[in-house]
Amino acid sequence: MATLEIDGQEVQVEDGSTIIEATEKLGIYVPRYCYHPGMSIAGSCRMCMVEVENIPKLAIACYTPVNDGMKVSTSSEKVLKGRRDMLEFLLHNHPLDCPVCDQSGECDLQNFYMEHGRYQSRFLENKVKKRKAFPIGPHVVLDQERCILCTRCTRFTDEVSETHELGVFNRGDRSVIDLNPGKTLDNPYSGNVIDICPVGALTEREFRFQCRVWYLSSEESICPGCSNGCNISIHYNQRRAYKAGGRRLQRLKPRYHPQVNTWWMCDEGRFGYGFVDRHRFEFPMLRLQDELQYAEWEEALDKAAGVLKQAIDEHGPESVGVIASPRLSNEELYLTKKVFGQGLGIENIGFKNPWEKEGFCDDYLIKADKNPNTRGAEEMGFKGDVKQILEKAASGDIKVLYVFLHDLASEEARKLLDQAGTLIFHGSNRNSTSQRAQVVLASSVWAEKDGTFTNFEGRVQRFKAALQPLDESRRDIEILLDLAARMGQQLVYNNAGDLFMEWFGMTYEEMNPRGENIENRDGGSMPPPSGGSAGQQPSAN
């Protein structure tokens, strides 16, 4: 360990750390462009220069190792002048198109200039012209004039995605970032270069000109795209929903988690939010004259409860089949089990779509299981064989099928469903299974509710509601509680937190922000992960 003094504060860091790592520990933010904790050190932007006692030149904080007894200043007159000088150099060829730049509002060049620059302009020369606004991949647009050549993106494609699409071409102030010959930026992690670009050089095709970032609100969430459980933030815009074609959810961004996803997320998850605002059930529906038609919630719930009750009264609980979903939260799964299992004595409860094919996976973040909570459902003890349940439905042993979310679209499943009796569909989006339902209970998507998912390694992680349920759709827990009440069960849960308390034995507030290990059901939290305090991100951007 080395003890050093930064801006008059003493800090202890491990030998071999750099000055910038020591400043992070003290919560001092040193401006930087090329430095990113997840990649190799480039040391070229020269923005993080600090003054070290007995070193005549300014030292770059990102590469200078700490020494015992070192005295560092991150805000001396000399340092501030150094930053101002670098900003002046960086802006020399940077277009001042902030009013039409998507990065505006979250741009480090803008922010640092306002904080440290603010000099009298000495620019008289013309700026170097480069190529503007052209797509370099399915998700990314490049503007070479805005680029400050920090090389975060090229290092990302070299070191993290290891796909080597981007390079630096030409020399001096004619240098540009561009695609390597014959390549396009279409790797499974390409969206991350947008996040790490400190300026507006790399922008998101989906998000361009859709919304100024200052209109966005943000909520912590977990990506529902696969079982990895990457920590994300939902950026949403409910106030100006008439922009962006009525899309409320504007974009997803990765949120730092040292063990699960570090700074990154995959494109599949990042751009897989279309279902939040598209093909939704906006209200419950009932089948009348062989057609699904609008229904009031009361009608739909009465109908569903009536069908279920009738089947159980006439043929016993064996005549009802429930297919829960690995896309439901732990709280919803817990309540499902409580209502249908304990309450109604139903044993035919499954959750896994046996026809579901494994998706694309790699050895990094992307998992083959595209459901966020398979592990949670397994731990919860959902054991029923869905294929068997459907076969029983087809043979008439099961009279009523209650299906959550699933699109049972395989040929075999369709055939079985065609022969089944009453189908109650509880879900948020239209699909081939919902088309066959007699009753549709319009539920909410993950972005509209609170809950937890258990990722593939057994980490229980919390996601928070960013949006209100769309139109008349309702949160799954409310639907289940209303249904239970109609069938004579008195269950009192005010919110998902109550269910979590009962199931996991702690409140959301008591949870480790980095997730709880499912093995610690008695409430003990996981050992603190290395580096930094919980939830604090070694600032990358």
Partner: protein, 430 residues
Amino acid sequence: MPLHTLISKDFYNEKARDSDWYKENRDGYQGALKAFDMSPQEIIDEVKTSNLRGLGGAGFPTGVKWGFVPKDSGKPVYLAVNADESEPGTFKDKYIMTWDPHRLIEGIIITCWAIDAHVAYIYIRGEYVRPYEHLQRAIDQAYRRGLLGDRVMGRDFKLDVYIHRGAGAYICGEETGLLESLEGKKGWPRLKPPFPAVKGAFGAPTIVNNVETIAHVPEIIKQGGQWFADLGCEKNGGTRLMCVSGHVNKPDVYEIRLGTPMYELIYEHAGGILDGKKMKAVIPGGSSAKVLTAEEADCDCSIEALQAAGSMLGSGGVMVMHEDTCMVKALQVITSFYAHESCGQCTPCREGTGWLLTTLNRLLSGEGRPSDIDTMLSLSGNMQGTSICALSEAAAWPVESFILKFREEFDYMAAHGRSMVADEESAPAA
């Protein structure tokens, strides 16, 4: 002091390209034979005694550098000979490679023996086509005659020498830029430490030495370090090649003993100033060295003496300018080189070199403003000490020194839109 011919004896002598001729007439490869009877440490000590200092520009003591190679890294050690000679005003290494390639090869053999390297790379600038051809021919000959290969000169020592041709970038003469390029990457200088002697080419310890430095090694071994040190002056052993260009009557490469007066070099050896005019300024060590006025240039050619005069001996590229030279134009020529060659990695160099050039261009076009001069001075200040390699400084020093020493010419240009010097076309091609 008269000219001394230690390594320049055979310039323009075509016969010297043959290893047998070199052996018979110059005691060629005797140094290597002697070296094989010495231990590596003895050779390093001998080179330390000789006060041989890196002749590429930085002037780092060669023996000390060799001593930095870690003994037990478990990795091979490489020698990289820097033949990327591209500092404007410098053209000495090309003479060695073209006329006396076996001296270089012998130096490589001794150096590799001293640092226990079995592979040597010669990184030669891409534009050097004929030097490359002659050097490659000499290497092929050396292989055929058993001077290189699995058993060097019959000893149990394996050595392979490869030439790697650059693609035309000044930055690849910077030692870590050279290593990156040698590895097949863009020649962007590396952050230091680690220094190449610890972690160089392909992650292995690598000694990077200039061609001329290596070419001095055989004589040092043959005649002894002390003899070599005595040839030069204090802390500057032996001789070195000075490339005199610009407004002199006999521009050429001259081998001088270190410590020879600059005026002797210019007025006696290089034949004095063209057309009998007055000398105005001298750039003593390649275009990145700070310019000296004629009075300041009245000093000895040694690293310390030129440092005291406010410049550096650098690569030995002496560029002489006479009284009719427009210093604004001369600076523009130099600056356009650095703006062209900045690798673009670090912010101050990438943006600063271009900014300086566009400002100078505007000044020369008659559109200058009085404030431009101070802006350029401040920019060149901001470019110093703020980048990974020294190119930023190499670009800033000329600007700073030209303006500080010839300020009235710049002010005049900004105020009147034309040069203060009558014949501005006579600016030397730097």
